[in-house]
């Protein structure tokens, strides 16, 4: 179920829609599962009247979690050695996010075959909401 080093090359790309029309309910679901109950993500009254945002918005970690699926669906389960992201812009209810992962380099470390990946998530307006990098262990 894991990606083989011999089946891929630098520049290979994997793309998927991470979420179509993000619902407030999914944001609440993420709050419950993750334990991050920051009202900015679920409490419209607090977010608009106190914090001054136009509406609640998704946890950055929800986007990172959804983008993580893009990686694990491609490289296999439990294969990540490293995964890091920068949150570039907020994700709002109703957004549709598309993720794209690209193999930046293939390398060997001892007996391990590794792939370095770069990752971008954009919304329906073409704005980048998350960028990241990851390293995955591949089968030889």
């Amino acid at each position: 179920m894991s990606l083989r080093a011999s089946d891929v090359k630098a520049g290979d790309q994997h793309e998927a829609v991470l979420v179509d029309n993000l619902t407030r309910t999914q944001i609440v679901q993420y709050a419950g599962a993750s334990g991050d109950f920051n009202p900015l993500h679920s409490d419209e009254m607090f977010t608009t009247q106190i914090a001054g945002y136009p509406s609640v918005f998704g946890h950055g970690m929800l986007t990172m979690g959804m983008a993580g699926r893009l990686l694990t669906d491609w490289v296999g389960d439990g294969r990540l050695r490293r995964y890091g992201v920068q949150f570039r812009s907020q994700v709002w209810p109703g957004d549709t996010l598309t993720g794209s992962a690209t193999i930046d380099a293939l390398r060997e470390e001892g007996a391990d075959h590794l792939a370095d990946l770069v990752l971008t998530v954009t919304n329906q307006r073409g704005e980048v909401v998350l960028t990241g990098t990851a390293t995955a262990l591949l089968d030889g």
Partner: protein
């Protein structure tokens, strides 16, 4: 986040996988997971974040018997603080993980926090931004380091403006 005991439980993994919209059976079904060569149900890569549930000092979870800053009858349950949205104006800027192995059902982790850097930057959409870094080491029941998390938070001097046209 510092946590004395973070038990990795199948039901919690299931809820987390559902929340991120990931139907992968490796996060749900021990038999399928084992047929894929895994030790049993494993957790998705960002699951350690859910240790927030087990951190007694975690600031973004209501605590029994303490006032909560989210809305009830009024827009906030505490006196509005100065400086933008107060506690609510903190945002997550970066998150990085290094893994020794995937977390699996039955693991019991402890988490310790190491000091990180702090710095400031002028932002186009958010005014003065104060960044602070937190490094958390997660160890398993055998004391082995399994995940290192580096989180960068930012406090903004005003709410981040939406991009033009949003």
């Amino acid at each position: 986040m510092a946590v004395e005991r973070f038990p990795i439980e199948a039901g919690h993994i299931l809820m987390f996988a559902n929340a991120i919209g990931d139907p992968n059976p490796a996060y749900r079904d021990a038999d399928v997971a084992r047929s894929r060569g895994l030790p049993g149900v494993i957790a998705p890569p960002t699951f350690v974040q859910a240790s927030a549930h087990f951190d007694p000092d975690y600031i973004l979870r209501p605590k029994l018997g303490e006032p909560w800053f989210g809305s009830g009858r009024e827009a906030t349950g505490v006196a509005p603080s100065t400086g933008g949205g107060g506690i609510g104006s903190g945002l997550h800027a970066e998150q990085h993980y290094e893994y020794t192995r995937p977390l699996r059902e039955g693991d019991v982790l402890t988490a310790t926090v190491l000091p990180g850097r702090t710095w400031e930057k002028e932002g186009r959409r958010a005014g003065t931004m104060k960044f602070s870094e937190m490094i958390t080491e997660y160890r398993d029941q055998d004391g082995e380091l399994v995940v290192t998390a580096r989180s960068v938070g930012v406090m903004t001097s005003r709410p981040v403006e939406k991009e033009e046209g949003q």
